[in-house]
């Protein structure tokens, strides 16, 4: 019949499509790329490569090799603060004054030496530009260039965490002369007067191991090695980051040998790439801690018993085993287990069991049989390896069993954070990703930054973390942060802590030193071919 013959192009397409997906293996690249590294990553969240305005996970990745900061923290031992541009430092006993002695011989790419004036300029520009990460510079009261090699930072109040905060991307040290020429401003009013931001889209003014060769938004980043870098010379002469939106496509490129490293992989790629030829998987805990935030201003979350009920209603093990396929672990509070003040034992103790009966009983006590509430998350997003769409749908199924109907309303990724910051969502699948690696950065759930969005306060917890911030005594801090975590896990708190997903990096097996960094994703300058 005619129609069968008309349909055979369809048949061809379908048949080819249905052929088994094997593992064709990498293309023969003929050994071309020894000193050039190609990375596949989703860089669409980068809004600004200007350190004073940068605040995204991918912009931290972008800025890390271009700039140095005063101190550094290397994976995996984040407790230790090492010197970067600051060779040594002293902290006043009241933790209000920090004095840094700059390393000799550090220079910006291009040769100009790094001086205290550059540090002063960079810190104040960051503070007064009022970018999304500007709050990190709030403690700074004044920065003084005592002499070309000494900087004194005076804080407005005692703050023992300031040193760790200096590793944040916003505190990258810029070449003040170059940026001033481009219209950079380091005084009050920088938020309107500074004109330098657009310059950063095509250039870098740092003293890091690489310089910016090219940045094309949502397309490509090209790094060139800075041969005058004061630290160990990186192995790769050129590093190219290709923007690839789909996680599976990143996996495909790696398999085919078109890239050396694939970042931002999801659970499906982590499972699918296991055992692939000539590919190594590097897995470790990510810095994402995922939780559900409940807006206590809307029903049913305004009822503390309902909040508690929800905590017992979730099938946590199902999430870890089926949604995350074992790539991650449960968390009982917002911090990463293993950090100061949150040992693994405490984490386990704070976990809620999945107890449907108890959940229903609590709902009864609350007097709520049915409730409908909106549930928001960034559409199509991944928190490290965790597929958020999938998790949201699972949570809906779980909570529907106790009568809470979650209306799924994902929003575009680019507007998710603003909506969140405005306190609009009723229920939100959120995460925390650190700006710097000190427990103080995780106090955002009570210090006003995040909890304000849920219309919730805990004066006791706030007192605890304020004290912990000001104390330099490690043991005291540990006890205080443990207290903080316990308070966060209380049944009436508007947070349901879920998981810390694992991060998986897939790389060709001829690469060494592939390590995940909790702030910058990947330490590019450490990579080398075996």
């Amino acid at each position: 019949m005619r129609w069968t013959s008309r349909a055979w192009p369809v048949g061809v397409v379908v048949a080819v499509a249905l052929s088994v997906i094997g593992d064709p293996g990498p293309r023969a690249t003929g050994g071309a790329r020894t000193d050039v590294l190609v990375i596949a990553k989703d860089i669409s969240d980068i809004r600004s490569p200007d350190p004073a305005k940068a605040y995204e996970v991918s912009s931290a990745f972008l800025l890390y090799p271009l700039y140095s900061r005063l101190i550094r923290q290397e994976a995996p031992d984040y407790g230790k603060i090492r010197s970067d541009l600051a060779e040594s430092w002293t902290v006043s006993p009241d933790a209000k004054t920090y004095t840094f002695t700059l390393r000799k011989g550090a220079a910006f790419a291009g040769g100009k030496p790094v001086t205290s004036e550059d540090v002063r300029f960079s810190l104040l520009r960051m503070k007064y530009s009022k970018g999304p990460g500007g709050f990190l510079a709030d403690p700074i009261q004044s920065v003084e260039a005592v002499d070309p090699a000494t900087v004194r930072v005076t804080l407005s109040g005692p703050d023992a965490t300031f040193l760790a905060a200096l590793a944040a991307q916003g505190f990258s040290i810029l070449d003040s002369k170059t940026i001033r020429e481009q219209g950079g401003v380091d005084t009050v009013g920088a938020d309107t007067l500074d004109k330098a931001e657009s310059w950063f889209f095509a250039h870098s003014a740092g003293s890091g191991p690489y310089t910016l060769g090219r940045f094309t938004r949502e397309s490509e980043i090209v790094y060139q090695r800075n041969d005058q870098y004061f630290g160990p010379t990186p192995f790769f002469r050129q590093v190219i980051v290709r923007h690839v939106k789909d996680a599976s496509a990143r996996g495909l490129l790696l398999r085919r040998g078109d890239v050396d490293v694939a970042l931002d992989l999801g659970v499906d790629q982590a499972t699918g790439l296991r055992g692939a030829s000539r590919i190594d998987l590097v897995e470790g805990p990510s810095a994402f801690t995922v939780y559900i935030g409940l807006n206590t201003g809307v029903p049913p979350w305004n009822n503390p018993k309902v909040r508690a009920a929800a905590k017992y209603a979730i099938d946590y093990d199902g999430i870890v085993s089926a949604i995350m396929r074992g790539h991650g672990l449960r968390i009982g509070s917002i911090m990463m287990p293993g950090m100061l003040g949150f040992p693994g034992s405490l984490n386990t103790a704070l976990l809620y069991p999945h107890d449907a009966a108890k959940a229903s009983a609590l709902m009864k006590e609350a007097g709520v049989t049915r409730a409908s509430v909106a549930f928001t998350w960034p559409s199509g997003a991944y928190y490290a390896t965790l597929p958020v769409d999938r998790l949201a749908q699972k949570l809906r199924a779980d909570l529907s069993l106790i009568g809470i109907d979650l209306q799924l309303q994902p929003v575009q990724e680019s507007v998710f954070l603003p909506y969140f910051r405005a306190g609009k969502p009723q229920t939100i699948l959120a995460y925390w990703f650190p700006d710097f690696l000190d427990p103080d950065n995780w106090t955002i759930l009570v210090n006003g930054l995040i909890n304000r969005r849920f219309h919730w306060q805990s004066p006791e917890a706030l007192k605890v973390v304020t004290e912990a911030k000001a104390t330099a005594d490690a043991q005291r801090r540990e006890a205080l942060y443990e207290q903080y975590n316990r308070m966060l896990a209380a049944p009436d708190a508007p947070y349901i802590f879920l998981v810390q997903p694992a991060n998986v990096i897939a790389a060709r097996d001829d690469l060494a030193n592939v390590r995940y960094h909790s702030l910058y994703s990947l330490e590019i300058d450490a990579l080398r071919r075996k």
């Binding site: 397409v13 499509a17 939106k245 680019s414």
Partner: protein, 337 residues
Amino acid sequence: MGRYIFRRALLAVPTLVGLTIVTFFVSHLLPADMVLVNLGDQAVRSPELVAAFKHRWGLDRPLLVQYLVYAGNLLRGNLGTSIATHRPVLAELALSLPATMELATAAMAGAVAAGVVLGVLAAVLRDSKVDVFARGLSAVGVAIPTFWFAILLLALVYFQLGWAPPPGRLSAGLAPPEPITGMYLVDSLLRGQVDVLVDALRHIVLPAIVIAMVCLGYVTRITRASMIETLAEDYVRTASAKGLTAWAVIVRHALRNSLIPVITIGGTLYAQVMSGTVMAETIYSWPGIGRYAFTSAGSMDFPAVMGVALVVGAVYVAVDLCVDVLVVWANPRVRYR
């Protein structure tokens, strides 16, 4: 003829003006949250910052005044500054528009060439295997969902078979040619960079095929149908009765006349393609205007949104105009309205 062109062009002006009004008001549909998107936490904490932001982007003046300022800038060639990147929208468009034009043109060229050949063959060899294949391919081309086809091709041709390079315009690390038109194929040709030309060609194949599929479907169909009608005309019968070879009959007499509907369709398709490349561009990492529109609208970057809408709309109006003129030129018997 000249009068017709002039009249037609004149008629396009109110459309363009209307376009600016519509784009302006649609992008201001994106509500006040746009402030929040671009300021973040600071906005919520500080009313002065909100006021300063609004003032900077002229949002604190009445809507009509804002429009007039916008229109005035437009006349001077200033499309505003993107909130997301703080660069002139014109500069951003100068990067993304050529990318899409290159893709659309390559796809259309391929589709028209293949479609016309296939359509003619199908018409001449009615009800043969060729005809059946052409009609089948046409039906498939018209019906297949672009996004699905794009994913399918990527998985099969790139991954399984390894015949195509990975998504993107150029291979990693290869510097694009110094821009003249912004289209890599053209620029690399003009600058004599053969290696870049070849690389760019290899990269454009897959996304072009995805886009061409739909066009191929329509072009084949219309060519075939038009050719069949033309072949039945008296003058064709006369020509073949006169003893001309089939080839001469087809090419010299029938083809030209049957191509008129094809021109019409071609123009319309081109305009449609220009505004609908989002799928192919996202999946093949093609930094074109479709994707730019999508991300700008998503991040409520209203100057960018206005710029894109305006440019795409203007292209559409221009293509419409060209097609009208071409049709009238090709067949003076036809007159619109």
